[in-house]
Structures are given as C-alpha cells and as structure tokens.
C-alpha cells in the first residue's frame, strides 16, 4: 500500500499501535440533531472512542445526509467523525462536490460504501444511482487526495485535501472468496483502513480477520450491541447477511419479559447480557487477532459504552 500520511486522529491512533474503538451515529428523518450530538458527547466522555461513524441512509431509507451531522459532531462536540458516503444516491460529479465540501468543513475520514439498494428503503420507487461503485470511489478519493485533481485530472485549486478513507468488508459473506477478492481490489485503490459489518460468531470473525491479513491494512471489526429484543429481532431478520445467535435472542426476550414494567431492572438485565457476550468477544479479538480495533455500532445505546469498554 502506498503510504499516505495519517491525517485523521483515527489513522494516527492506528499508526500509534493503539487498540482503536469507533462508535456509530445514525441521523434519521429529523431536524433536531440534539440526540446525535448527545450520543457523540457520551462517546467522547468515555475517552475510549476515537471517532464516530455517521451513517448515510442505511437500509436505503431517506435520512439526513451525513455531511452536516459529521461536521457538527466535530465542531460542537470535538469528536472526530468517520463520514460515511454511499455511491447509491450521487453520481461522480455530486460525490466530488460533496468531498471537497467535506474537506473544507474539516472532515478527516471517509468510509466508502455501495449503500443498500433503494428497493430496501422507504422510497422503493426511487432510481438508485450507482454511477461509480465503491471501489471506483476509492480510486477517485486516491486521485483527489494524493494527486490533487478531480477524477478526470482537473486540478483542485486552493489547497490540499487531507483525508483518510476506508472501505467495508463483510465477515458474514457467503461465499467468502469473492468478498475477499473484492476487498483486495479496494486495497489496490489505497484504502487506509477497513471497517467490517457486524460479527457475532467469534470463530468466523477470527477466520475472516486472518483472511484479511494478506492486505496489510488495519481492520476494525464491527460489533453490534443489542439494545433491545426488538432491535435484535429486526437485525436478525432485515440486515443482509447478519444473523444474531439464537441464545442471545432468547436471553434478550427473557430479560424483557422478566422485567416488564421495571425499566431500570430491564436495562440492567439487557446491559448485563450484552456485556457478558461482547466483553470476552472484544478481549479475544484484541488478544488473538491482528485487528486494529473494534467498530462498536451501539447506536443510541450510549449507556453501554462505559461498562463495556472500561478495560480497553
């Protein structure tokens, strides 16, 4: 991999050899960003989370674009953003325009994604764009950052784009070989880091991380703490390729049933299940793999950060 300087705190922390943790924020169909900013503040308070991903219309739903919340999280909270950008909704012209706007706003990390198809979202009749795919988007970013031009070689005036970008990989992918080969194509396009889709199966996750070692790119393994049985059920049923272990689903259901009407007890029970599952999971990843860290997708589940991450 051609060595690009670590412009972002995230990449600097990875370079320093720290076990890095990123969080995730999900701006939805809202005008009020106070919850997002509160979530970011809680993440910052932990002192463990180096940056927060800001999602870009997950599941193909029409949500607030990720640019402004990413900027506000950095500006108002002081937590670095990992600005997620999909190629679903913008062609190469719009992507270029957005990226230089993001650079002006001081964003330092981009996570490139294909994006869930509009057929999965709440505007099913819409036309998805996919002018360039996420691998080509990586090439475009490499040209913009390393060569200072647009995709066609026209010079960008007035400074240098100082950003790092990453791609995603899916540990649940079946068959796995085409997924690994695809990640290889993205690595060729000089990604600085990889964040993965969520993993629940420790053996599968370790095996997947082993497969990614050949690329010599830092990998943050995705985990998804389950705030409620409903979320776990939704995740199990509606997120492509992700299945939540049956025993975890059962335990969450039981915790909610046993503590019906008693919120604090219910929360405590749910948190306990998550900590008992994910704490040893993270420890094992840290101990026995070359993963650079964990991408913790505890969206709107800030209270878990402190107890879960205290030892990392």
């Amino acid at each position: 991999m051609g060595k690009r300087p670590a412009y972002s705190n995230l990449c600097k922390a990875i370079e320093a050899g720290k076990f890095v943790i990123t969080g995730e924020l999900e701006p939805k169909k809202i005008l009020d960003l106070s919850e997002i900013l509160h979530g970011a503040e809680e993440m910052k308070k932990t002192g463990k989370i180096v940056a927060a991903n800001v999602t870009d219309g997950p599941q193909g739903d029409a949500y607030m674009c990720s640019l402004v919340p990413s900027y506000l999280v950095q500006e108002k909270v002081g937590l670095e953003a990992v600005w997620q950008v999909t190629v679903r909704d913008r062609n190469r012209v719009a992507l270029f325009g957005d990226i230089i706007a993001g650079a002006v706003l001081g964003l330092k990390n981009i996570l490139t994604l294909t994006g869930d198809h509009t057929a999965l979202g709440d505007h099913k009749k819409g036309r998805p764009v996919y002018d360039i795919d996420s691998t080509q988007f990586c090439e475009m970013l490499s040209i913009m950052i390393d060569e200072g031009t647009d995709y066609e070689g026209n010079k960008i005036e007035g400074g240098k784009i100082e950003m790092n970008y990453g791609c995603v990989a899916n540990p649940n992918s079946n068959p796995r070989e085409p997924e690994i080969l695809k990640v290889g194509r993205k690595v060729e396009q000089k990604v600085d880091f990889i964040q993965t889709q969520t993993a629940f199966d420790i053996d599968e996750a370790k095996d997947f991380l082993k497969d990614l070692e050949q690329f010599n790119v830092p990998v943050l393994l995705g985990i998804f703490p389950l705030k409620s049985y409903g979320i776990a059920w939704y995740f199990d049923n509606y997120i492509p390729g992700v299945s939540v272990p049956k025993e975890l689903l059962k335990a969450l259901k039981k915790a909610e049933k046993d503590n019906k009407g008693n919120k604090p007890a219910k929360y405590a029970a749910l948190d306990k299940i998550n900590i008992e599952f994910f704490e040893p999971f993270i420890k094992e990843i840290k101990k026995s793999t070359k993963a650079a860290g964990i991408h913790c997708m505890a969206v709107e589940y800030e209270r878990l950060f402190d107890p879960l991450l205290k030892d990392f």
């Binding site: 679903r88 190469r92 994604l113 294909t114 869930d116 198809h117 057929a119 999965l120 998805p128 996919y130 002018d131 360039i132 795919d133 996420s134 691998t135 080509q136 090439e139 475009m140 995709y151 995603v168 899916n170 649940n172 992918s173 079946n174 068959p175 070989e177 085409p178 997924e179 080969l181 695809k182 290889g184 194509r185 993205k186 060729e188 396009q189 889709q197 492509p240 390729g241």
Partner: protein, 232 residues
Amino acid sequence: MIITQLKDIEEIYGYIEPYNKILIAGCDGCCQPPRSLNEAKLLGQLLELKARTKGKDLKWKAITVLRQCDDRIAATTVRPLVEDYEAILTLACGLGVVMMNKVLPQKLTFPTQNSMFGGAQSNGENNFIELCETCGDCIIGETGGVCPRAGCAKHLSNGPCGGMVDGMCEVRGYTVPCAWVEIWKRLKEFNRLDLFKKYRGPRDYRTSTSPGYLEVYKEYTNVEEEKEEVKG
C-alpha cells in the same frame, strides 16, 4: 427479444375512449410473449365489451405487422388501412409505438404494452430474463459470460456488494442469484480468477446516453438510395 407486459385494460380503454373506430395492430417482430394477430383480436373483443358496459358501440379491426420497428414495413402494411380508422392501438414494444406515430403522422398510435427489457427466454415458456442491457460497452468477455450490468441490481463493475447473502441478491428478497457470485463461480471453474481480481475503472456512460444513434449502416439507408436515384 423485447419483453413486454400488457397494460391494464382501464388504461388502454382510457386512450381510445374518445374514438368509435380503431385499428389494433399486432407485431410479429421480436416482441415476447407473442403480440400478434390473435392477441390483437382478443384485445379488440375485450375493448368492445368494455365499451358496451359504457353504452358505446366500438368498431375495431385487428391486423398484424411483420415488424413495426421497420419504417418501410410499418408504413406499407398500415398506410392503406389507416384512413378508415380514428386511432390506432399497437401491441408492439415502445419502438413500434414511436415508429407507427412517425410513419403514420395523420393518426395517433397508442401503446397497449409496457416494454420491460431486452430479454431471453429462460426455463420454459413465458419465463423471461434480462441478460443484456445494451450498454454499448460490453465487458462480458472478462466476466465469464455473465453480464454484471444487466445481472447486478447496482450495475457494479467490481462486485459483489454487501447485499449478497448466501449467493443471492438483496433486491427481490434474495430470490435472484448475485451476478458477481455467478461470475466468480464461472471464472473459478476455468481457473481465470485473474479476471475476477482485475479492477475495472469507471464506466464511460457516453456509450449509453439516450437517444442512441448508430450510423454503422449509413451507406445502405433509403435516404442514401434516394440521393443516388436523384443523381442518376
């Protein structure tokens, strides 16, 4: 072949409601499922019944045309009949609808079909599948005979994406195989994963910008012939 789907009868009737005497033209070209004389007759009978429920006596004639997308064939077949009718309904694909309006400008020709895609018959009668989207930049030579543009819902040049689960695509509820997994299987079978690993740069969309216009056979068009005749 062009795969078409019959429009709702209400929509078709809506087009011809102002008229009392219509010509219904089938097409014997590549339109599939068949949209020929029998289908034109059947549509005439349905519209006649529909008109009757509204107290109207609709007169119609059904014909078929060898290929409505050929200007000379369409003009010579339909022109002798056209004066007797107030409007034309065509069972052809979109090409036929536009061409009939062009070569018979004295009447309005209305569609009865939605043109779905350029497809192939697969797995028995009336099962059609899009295998090529006529993008103007064929890369199938690198993808083991499977087209990732027609076959991938996201038209990816470097797939598969994260929406692939157990080899199936997230679009249409995991019932359609992921084209990129199919490509991987084919290339692996022939020990050509070098082609799978290859990075493919961004597409040049100028090859598929509408309206498409190709002048490959320009010297053979009737326009040229006419010019030569004048010269002669």
